[in-house]
Symmetry: C2
Subunit: 607 residues, 2 copies
């Protein structure tokens, strides 16, 4: 169950697909040497491989325990968390002004993926803390930033996001937690929040809860939600910790996976603290704009969860591949004197290739999205910023929804590759299968991502960004056609299939966009029946685009197949075209059937 | 987490798809009244719902414990197992001459599915016992049958199958357990067997192990394997139990799912018993024919595991549907005054419809296969028997591979439908996701089933059975075309899509068969690269066939849509056509790409 950070693939994606070189040309990163990128990545590999990865199984088997509101996390997590803080990993992509390192998002995407792969349950603590940092940098006052951000960045404190309540999951309009103003600029918060990741633990001195609640006279629905800071311990002006606040862990959940991560039920205003009844809170930004702030923070969190999917896919793939090389069983299909390692069996190759193809494609898409985010926030020209930010916004629900759905498939194939061993917990493959299962649910289910993709990201701009992307794909398709024409025998058959399937997939994608644009007004239900298929189709074709670009690099860089990495990459791209891209047309067919399905269902009991 | 046996669907499948009426016309079942079928099914529903289902979560949370070779199972399993034995469920399909009830396999398929759905971990004990009964009835001597079968049938004793060794999983040629003849007609067995389901437990007085081992001078490979009976306690001629035999449980596994089922490592010949060193064994049938006997027994076991997949799909679907009706969240997509039960949201409908469609289609295929088995073993005319047995043989790897792969998708969608609740173990949805994960692995992985389907079941007869099936599908397609022509507006759009997609799926199926037939000699690897896609394609089209037949029944039986069951069935069939059948053409595309993929991989490190 060792883990090796996929440095070679990151380098390939940075250099050939996501344009790290272009990012470093921007003034914002003028101080960043390209050597630094590699140095950070290598250091991150050492940290995640040697310090974090060994705690993964430990967290699964010795999960946190809760007693009287006190949560004790897995012992080995303490050392890893201390090293994480000291290494400055939390601040990697954040401004130097607040204690960060001001490095590109693209780089942070890679270091995060490694952290997620090394120990997903552990990584949730930094992931949530990052969301809090993001929200405070965006909407907090200077005093709030000064008080909280550096301590969060240094790993002395951690952060949480408190949205969900028992009656308010995907539908935040139902949030009922109350915030009562005290006349001194502070509030008292009352209510119950559930599914609070690292809501209580003993890793850090303090926990900074960001809480969605309603002020007393707030409008109903999502427009009456405000965002509050509720620290576990009140913080004095000099940064020292004061009274225990009135926020309490009632219990932690017994979950299918990510056992190492304590998921808390938090009670606000249970009157057990030193501050009297009600959790002392300060407002972030303006009243009733809480959801708006949350959404910006959620964008980052959703993107990060997508990258968690890629991390778990990478880890599951590494483990399955190692097992398949080691396990000798049955003769080769062409005949062989003795039994061979199972990696030689065609169906094991199909499974491993599927795992590789989905992992590498989702990684490439996520990295390109991260680069768009860097351009969108840091490029000197506004036009370029706006264009790239719109691309990033379109890609976030896809990175989240598609990468995590793929991770379920990959983790399941990982178990399957092990045969009976895969079902034995000590093998480790089963943990990825269990851990991954939350990824398509938290930070918005795949259906929520698909609603976002259809509603806010496709309909609102009349399909502009989506069709811009397909136009760009057609440019790559033309390059591919030229490559087919001049290819050697080694590459020609693979490139030919790739071209054929990429073209079909682009057609399917464009037709789906038009279906969404043309039918929503008249028959919204039939469009939303196909919303998840549309999201998945977009993911497959965007992944295919990056795999085609990768194949073109392979052809250009190596006329022979001596380079093992490039040879693998090319084979994986061909496999993606041959086995994965055909899913796009299939999904388009289902999207077209939205109307007949929703009509048939009106006569059934699913209404 | 209640369970309701799907009696209405069984009745529909019996009456309209699997031809229970025809079976009961055969002399073998002349004593069986059709009332009896319903009475048995009702009684089975009561038993599985009230007695077995409540033990499911209990077994998951309080799994068996092993200490010094003694395994204590979950306490509540004892009562359920006693009731199982007393109810005569073990002997339902077995000959009356040996204590069974001589009822059709088709009926046993339904009662088994209910048992599997109620508690999969519990059901494995009867499932394995059934395999032992089957093997002894097939190859045992009269004395062996007399000694063991009635006690197994009554639930006083249980049975196990001992194939796997650490170095011999899918590849039984590597089995190295030894059997040494003692000169008195008995043998002593030495070796280690792993993954032995219910290999040790305290549910019954005795455990009858069937063990694959090699006699001293046996040839190497699978042709040197013999089958032995090793009882935990030796059995005297009068059936009383004697000395403790030299077979010992070294440990039980810590598994992802089916926690209630003890999976044992068994040591034969560890010299801790009362019989001296070596487990006392008797040979079943002839030496070196062990694998042959095992295969016949395995056919039944593989079929049963397929039905386990259907059972878990049914259970997961019931739970998700109940939750979706109960959980109120977000407004309707068309707009609504308040939040609605999530069953009204299009993507939840898509998930629940997928779950229903796959469950009902796999059930219908399995029941048709079971009926073919009844015809194949009981029909008075040899021609009819042979034809049906060949159909059954073709369908077994599909029922096993396809139904279990579908159950993974269904169980995963079951978790997803619950949102965050699905990840909390106490909800129960996660247990099905964990339990189901073994189904595509044990009794032969999906790849092993696919090898069987390609090699023994398609190539060996030149595709005859496969093409016979597709011919029969085209007859149904013609009926469907006529139904489209005369359909009312309620049915017409759905039938039209169903016709279009069923035709495409049959085309894809036939083309795949021809691809397999035409390419294996020249390029076996490219064919086997697509073996699992071929198996899945066959499953989807066979499932589609039964859903089309179901839709035709719905049209015939109800011109209105008043009947809730028929309306649901029709909607599910339409959904299957619109959303599931398009997978067939997609899989065909991948099958065609076997060559380009296997060529590309030769340059990669997956070799």
């Amino acid at each position: 169950m060792t883990f090796r950070a996929p440095l070679q693939d990151f380098k390939f994606v940075f250099d050939h697909l996501a344009g790290m070189g272009d990012l470093l040309q921007m003034p914002a990163f003028s101080a960043v040497e390209s050597d630094l990128i590699e140095a950070v990545l290598s250091e991150n590999a050492r940290f995640t491989e040697d310090v974090v990865a060994p705690t993964n199984w430990d967290g699964d088997q010795k999960p946190p325990a809760a007693q009287n509101g006190v949560v004790t996390v897995t012992a080995s997590f303490h050392k890893a968390f201390k090293a994480f803080g000291e290494g400055g990993w939390q601040g990697l992509r954040h401004p130097e002004a607040w204690g960060g390192q001001g490095l590109p998002n693209l780089l942070a995407t890679a270091t995060n993926e490694n952290l997620f792969a090394a120990n997903m349950a552990f990584s949730l603590c930094p992931l949530l803390t990052d969301g809090v940092i993001e929200a405070l940098l965006l909407a907090g006052s200077d005093s709030q930033k000064t008080t909280y951000v550096p301590a969060l960045m240094e790993g002395r404190w951690t952060g949480t996001m408190n949205l969900t309540e028992p009656q308010a999951g995907s539908d935040l309009s139902l949030v009922s937690s109350k915030a009562v103003p005290q006349g001194d600029g502070t509030y008292r918060v009352f209510g119950q929040k559930i599914y609070i990741t690292y809501g209580e633990h003993d890793l850090a001195e303090n926990i900074i809860h960001l809480v969605l609640a309603r002020t007393v006279d707030a409008p109903s629905g999502v427009k009456g939600l405000s965002l509050f800071i509720v620290p576990k311990y009140l913080v004095a002006d000099d940064g020292s910790l004061g009274q225990r606040n009135d926020v309490w862990c009632a219990s932690i959940e017994h979950k299918l996976g990510i056992h190492g991560s304590p998921t808390a039920v938090l009670l606000y205003g249970d009157d057990k603290g030193e501050v009297g009844k009600g959790a002392v809170a300060t407002l972030v930004g303006e009243e009733n704009r809480g959801l708006e702030y949350m959404f910006i923070m959620m964008n980052a969190a959703r993107f990060a969860v997508g990258v968690q999917g890629i991390g778990i896919s990478e880890r599951a793939t590494q483990q399955a591949l190692a097992y398949a090389r080691d396990r000798v069983q049955s003769r080769a299909v062409e005949g062989s004197a003795a039994a061979v390692p199972i990696v030689r069996h065609p169906d094991v190759q199909r499974m491993l290739s599927t795992m590789r193809a989905l992992t590498e494609a989702t990684r490439a898409v996520a990295c390109c999205a991260a680069a768009a985010h860097d351009l969108g926030t840091q490029h000197p020209e506004e036009m370029v910023r706006r264009f790239n930010e719109s691309i990033y916004d379109y890609l976030v629900p896809i990175v989240k929804g598609f990468s995590t759905e793929c991770s379920l498939e990959v983790a399941s194939l990982g178990v399957q590759t092990h045969g009976g061993m895969g079902f034995i917990e000590e093998t480790g493959a089963a943990q990825y299968y269990r851990d991954a299962r939350i990824l398509t649910i938290y930070e918005g289910t795949t259906a929520i991502q698909a609603n976002d993709l259809v509603g806010r990201k496709t309909l609102r701009d009349g399909g502009k960004v989506a069709l811009d992307l397909s136009k760009a794909m057609r440019v790559t398709l033309d390059e591919l056609a030229q490559a087919v024409a001049t290819a050697t025998n080694v590459h020609k058959p693979g490139l030919t299939v790739l071209h054929q399937q990429f073209e079909l997939a682009i057609d399917a994608y464009e037709s789906s966009i038009h279906y969404v644009l043309n039918n929503t007004k008249e028959d919204i239900r039939s469009v939303y029946t196909g919303s998840v298929p549309y999201l998945m189709l977009a993911g497959y074709v965007l992944g295919g685009w990056q795999m085609v670009r990768s194949a073109l690099v392979c052809v250009r860089e190596s006329t022979t197949t001596d380079d093992r990495f490039l040879a693998n990459k090319f084979a994986t791209a061909v496999f993606y075209g041959a086995y994965i891209l055909p899913r796009a047309s299939m999904l388009y067919t289902t999207i077209l059937h939205g109307k007949v399905v929703s009509e048939a269902l009106t006569h059934s009991d699913l209404v």
